[in-house]
Amino acid sequence: MKVELGVLASRIRLEEKMLVKRARKREDVNLTIVDPREFRWSESDLRHLDVLLDREISQSRAYHIMELLSSTGITLVNDFQTVQLCGDKAFTSVQLKKHGVPTPDFRVAFDRESALRAIEDIGYPAVLKPVDGSWGRMVSKIDNRESAEATLEHKSQLDSHFHSIYYVQDFVETGNKDIRAFVLDQDVIGAAYRESDHWITNAARGGESRAYPLTDELEDIVQATSEVFGGGALAVDLLESERGLLINEVNCSMEFKESMKVIDRDIAAELLDYTVEQVKVSEEVTQDRCLA
């Protein structure tokens, strides 16, 4: 019997095209591309699906659709709790800290004055980020009190209510590079440096990939992170520091086209295999519950 696979995506980028091409070659999969722009909430619309892989570029669309579908019996990759945790940097940091996973020091404030105190508390340089941002957007490195005051004033003029949540992180000097690792539950499938001329190293901002060998330290911290997030398909961003590796951010709709150039595993195929496999995992859990 074929697995009914849905891919949630409004924008077919290179990653989505790789996934779709591989899915169409599989004889055990029927593929439906679900465009969130055409989605209307009704269980019957997607009732035929066994599993839905979230590849939606709009985090707010993905967040809501995954929540709406979380009680329908469709297996979700990733599940809503993971999407929720990844989607907020403050939630991510709190959970990592709670579970003893090394991460940069951070503060969260909800007012301009207390944000300034949070920045001074962290010390300069500090990094100010939107809690829900991505691709290095609206991320500021703050070197002194004057730039802190100016940045907070500019931020206060922005419309989104998310800009009134101030997430402050210790700036970790890494020589303009970080590490991106890919993990499927506890299987760390590869890692790559992202390097840039700028301290922001996101691939979306021009960061280039270089191979990074899997080490015990990296595998241990990435597996611990995956456990905190309840498993799933995750892209974990790490920083090299004097304290060892630190988890900087965790992403639940992994972008991998740049890293695939230097990682000798087919991340698209492995993500697809993992997604299809989750249907069997869900069925086994259901059977166990029925037998219990």
């Binding site: 924008r11 077919i12 570029i57 829900d132 991505s134 691709w135 989104s160 979306a204 639940c252 972008e255």
Partner: protein, 54 residues
């Protein structure tokens, strides 16, 4: 054959093109979205929004 809505260049979509796929106009470089395969049709791709990302 689709036409770039900005500069009018004729764009031959490869056989494996997928609806909603993003491509660049070979002439003006604008980012385009494939909005229909039959008939082949492209439109300006949506601009980046604040909640886009991973």
């Amino acid at each position: 054959m689709a036409n770039c809505p900005e500069c009018g260049t004729e764009i031959d979509l490869p056989e494996d093109t997928i609806k909603n796929e993003i491509l660049d106009c070979p002439t003006c470089g604008l980012e385009l979205e494939v909005v229909s395969l039959d008939p082949a049709e492209v439109d300006l791709a949506p601009e980046e929004e604040e909640d886009w990302g991973e």
